[in-house]
């Protein structure tokens, strides 16, 4: 008896006149010629046998009455959503806005004063208690600022309160302190080692670039951060610190030097990120911003340099590509909050800010620094369920469902992505503008297009590396 094929929903993205990449409802992908695309839609029986088998294996086609396959499909879909359904896993505490830097692109804003710019001890306690209202068994508690080490006392208070509670709760909890590391001392390192605290810092590239981007009166921001990195590695361990970079206009000319700097400093991961137009970066937008075309040229050169080092047995992973490759190649989502659907803002991450309010994302609290507090979920101390039932949270979810977003309905990458309602709101003062006009959509569409072309042309070495990068635990070593 002839098999009756059922066409399952899928989307495609055109690579050229004769070829597309098609993505099934489960996120599996395949490259199809125009002829095979037409056959898949109109006459699957006419597909070559190996293509037909692939279409079934990747959920482009199903068989009538095959309930086992349908259950497997549902399981794949649920697995991809686990990072959003499991409750907030990333809890960001902003104990203070104090910071000594005057970064020209600071996305947050800063203050040198303490009064009115730091959390009260009661707010720290209340935030820690809310963290345990998340049903997630795996939690990351990250301290940001300002420079949170300027209020080390509040970090200690939070860590100790959480540790006491966790003696009963037995959750898997990871602490991260995001800091310039300028204030880091051997005593702090000993404390962090004892409490499994990781450090995250910023390195924008070679000293001259870093010091240009992050001015201090003493003009030694780079040197002091590198001293902090060395101290942390010596006292806590070689993997104690990770680093992030921000791309400014000045960065655009030196992608290779930036990657080389990460190699020189012994990092096995670099995250090539565009500038987020918040805080001082927004006020300096005319001077600081660049087009997607300029950034993509910069990114490609940087990625080539990363590949260059990998070929020379110097493993280093580029995080933006790794996140996208995880979406494309792995059935398990790494949970990167900016590419969740519905949005990770509020569902996967919560920010407890120094101003006493809870925000759905770092970007939302940055907007508050710019005078727009409309994305507040509620005051610190409010039960998690109330924060999640807030009108802002509902608006965020409704604005981030591809099934309700016209531009996403036809997008082949919507299985890996989702609208960014906070970014859209910043850009257009509405969470639901035409999605293709948002920077988030343009940036991600470009990156997925670029990676699918790279995967299509890839040799075995690149494919093997792509699969290593795609593993869901992005904190694993890069090799």
């Amino acid at each position: 008896m002839a098999i009756k094929h059922q066409l399952y929903p899928f989307q495609f993205h055109r690579l050229n006149r004769a070829e597309v990449v098609a993505v099934s409802v489960t996120g599996d992908y395949t490259y199809l010629t125009q002829d095979n695309l037409n056959r898949l839609i109109e006459a699957p029986d006419e597909l070559p046998m190996e293509v037909l088998a692939e279409m079934h294996a990747k959920y482009f086609l199903g068989r009538e009455g095959n309930h086992g396959s349908r259950r497997l499909l549902a399981s794949r879909l649920v697995t991809k959503q686990e990072t959003v359904t499991g409750g907030p896993t990333l809890h960001i505490l902003v104990p203070t806005l104090q910071c000594a830097h005057t970064c020209r692109y600071c996305q947050v804003s800063r203050s040198l004063q303490d009064t009115g710019f730091s959390m009260t001890p009661a707010q720290v306690d209340a935030a820690c208690d809310t963290i345990f209202e998340s049903p997630s068994n795996t939690l990351t508690v990250e301290f940001q600022g300002g420079d949170p080490l300027l209020r080390y006392d509040l970090i200690q208070r939070a860590i100790e309160r959480i540790a006491r509670r966790n003696a009963v709760e037995k959750r898997s909890i990871r602490f991260v302190v995001a800091s310039t590391l300028h204030q880091l001392s051997p005593e702090m390192c000993a404390y962090f080692k004892a409490h499994n605290v990781y450090l995250s810092t910023s390195i924008d590239g070679p000293a001259e670039l870093h010091n240009l981007n992050r001015p201090l009166a003493s003009r030694d921001a780079y040197e002091r951060t590198v001293e902090g990195i060395e101290l942390a590695r010596e006292c806590i361990g070689k993997d104690a610190v990770s680093a992030l970079m921000t791309t400014t206009r000045a960065s655009l000319a030196m992608p290779e030097a930036i990657v080389d700097e990460y190699i020189k400093l012994g990092f096995n991961e670099i995250f090539i990120r565009p500038l987020s137009p918040y805080g001082f970066a927004a006020r300096n937008e005319q001077k600081q911003t660049y087009s997607l075309g300029e950034f993509s040229t910069f990114y490609q050169r940087a990625l080539q340099r990363v590949l260059y080092w990998n070929k020379r047995q110097q493993p280093i992973r580029e995080a933006a590509a790794a996140i996208a490759l995880n979406k494309i190649l792995s059935p398990f989502d790494a949970g990167y909050v900016d590419l969740q659907s519905p949005t990770g803002a509020g569902l996967a991450v919560l920010v407890y800010n120094y101003d006493g309010y809870v925000y759905p994302s770092d970007e939302a609290r940055m907007l508050a620094e710019m005078g727009d507090t409309s994305l507040r979920l509620g005051m610190i101390g409010k039960p998690l369920i109330d924060l999640h039932q807030s009108p802002v949270m509902h608006a965020l979810v409704n604005a981030s469902l591809p099934t309700r977003t016209p531009g996403c309905l036809d997008c082949a990458f919507s299985r890996y992505c989702g609208p960014d309602p906070v970014g859209a709101y910043r850009q257009f003062r509405t969470m639901t503008p035409p999605v293709q006009q948002t920077k988030h959509c343009q940036q991600q569409t470009w990156l997925f297009d670029y990676l699918f072309r790279a995967l299509q042309d890839a040799d075995e070495a690149f494919l093997a590396m792509a699969h290593r990068w795609a593993r869901s635990d992005l904190k694993e070593e890069a090799a």
């Binding site: 409802v25 109109e42 499909l73 649920v78 005319q286 075309g293 509020g346 979810v397 293709q436």
Partner: protein
């Protein structure tokens, strides 16, 4: 300097086969908005035409071909939507929606 902002916009008429009613042209603008910078212009005689801007990702010569391809792809997507199994589509939408706060 913001390069995108500082490049002046020049709009050029784009030939489109078939129906050139304002409604259809507006549809074309929506369909192609991800790949081309298009707008519907009304000339003094009251006629509508499609215009492409020089900041578009493709050059002017390629723009017409891109519009035609995008329209053909839209028809294919409509075919997929009409033929694809509705239960699977609803299952996917349900699982996605359930991820919101309850």
């Amino acid at each position: 300097m913001n390069p995108e902002r500082d490049i002046p916009l020049f709009w050029h008429p784009l030939a489109l086969p078939g129906d050139n009613s304002p409604e259809r042209l507006q549809q074309v603008v929506q369909v192609c908005s991800a790949v081309l910078n298009l707008r519907v212009a009304t000339h003094a005689e009251g006629q509508c035409c499609l215009e492409v801007s020089h900041t578009a990702s493709a050059d002017h010569q390629g723009a017409e071909a891109i519009v035609k391809q995008a329209l053909a792809d839209t028809l294919l997507r409509e075919r997929i939507a009409s033929k694809a199994n509705r239960e699977v589509a609803m299952l996917a939408a349900d699982i996605l929606t359930q991820a919101g706060p309850r």
